[in-house]
Amino acid sequence: MELHQLHQRHRVAARDRANERVSTVTAWCAAAGALASALFGVVLGQASASAATASHQVAAAAAGKHAVPVHRRSRARALVGPTQPPTSAPAQNTPAALPPLPAPVPTPTSGS
């Protein structure tokens, strides 16, 4: 009888320990999820911002103009659905992307 009670007590203690473990892991998952959300958000934001800065510098050096930041462009691209035509990249509208002008034709300056 005592052995049975001891066994029963051992089982209850094991169950309590397992339940406690579940609570601890759940709390850690919630905390890790919140932390990961903040981290992912910052990393995604910084990656877009640094890409935008690089794009800005390259476009400004090439065209002497302000380029549209990459994160804005990625958001704009995301809005393009399958039925809509894709918008042209801003770099295509810069003078550097235009075809070169034909060489000037020499004109006669004086009649002979």
Partner: protein, 188 residues
């Protein structure tokens, strides 16, 4: 503020996918009756339930930030009515399907005592559809952010985890499962 909402939506969506993956993995382990000494079956089932509720909480933030952000003009209805949105109808529609399936899974699990085991199990089979649909939504809707190497690595890890758990589930044998597939002695 709009950019913060945009990235918060992306980040919570990714975390929700990781949590949904964990929920699916523990669900598969529980269904396969797999357990270890420190993690008995009831503990795995409890963790599966807690993680599913945590997933719902993160999904709530994911949806709320996406709807509040004025840039994409996603409505509350677009989050639950599949393929009705103007913004990326296919990928957002898949997200709405995943949310509807998850809602059905959570609600029927909470009402399991009332609806009966057979109906609950039948609806719970849709969990096998919920995860791939949510995964496809994440891959497709993220645009440039989804194609970053570290985001793809997280996606790949999720895929591997579910594949391994599915393999363990399908190869697991238990005397109850074996008995279920054998003809009943009275029927002989």
């Amino acid at each position: 503020v709009s950019h913060a909402l945009w990235y918060a939506s992306r980040a919570t969506g990714l975390v929700a996918l990781v949590l949904l993956t964990s929920t699916t993995v523990f669900g598969l382990l529980g269904a396969g009756r797999l357990s270890i000494a420190r993690w008995p079956r009831f503990a795995i089932t409890s963790l599966h339930r807690n993680l599913s509720l945590l997933t719902v909480a993160f999904l709530g933030v994911h949806i709320a930030t996406a709807v509040i952000d004025p840039y994409a003009s996603i409505g509350w209805a677009d989050a639950v009515l599949p393929f009705s949105a103007r913004y990326q109808p296919l990928w957002l529609g898949l997200g709405a399907v995943a949310i509807d399936l998850l809602a059905a899974l959570v609600v029927t699990s909470l009402l399991r005592e009332r609806i009966g085991l057979r109906l609950w199990r039948g609806i719970h089979w849709t969990a096998y559809l919920c995860w791939p649909v949510a995964f496809a939504h994440g891959l497709g809707i993220g645009g440039a952010d989804s194609h970053r190497l570290w985001v793809l690595s997280v996606d790949l890890l999720c895929l591997l985890a579910v594949a391994v758990a599915l393999a363990m589930r399908s190869t697991a044998t238990h005397q109850d499962t074996v008995a279920r597939h054998q003809p009943h002695p009275a029927a002989r």
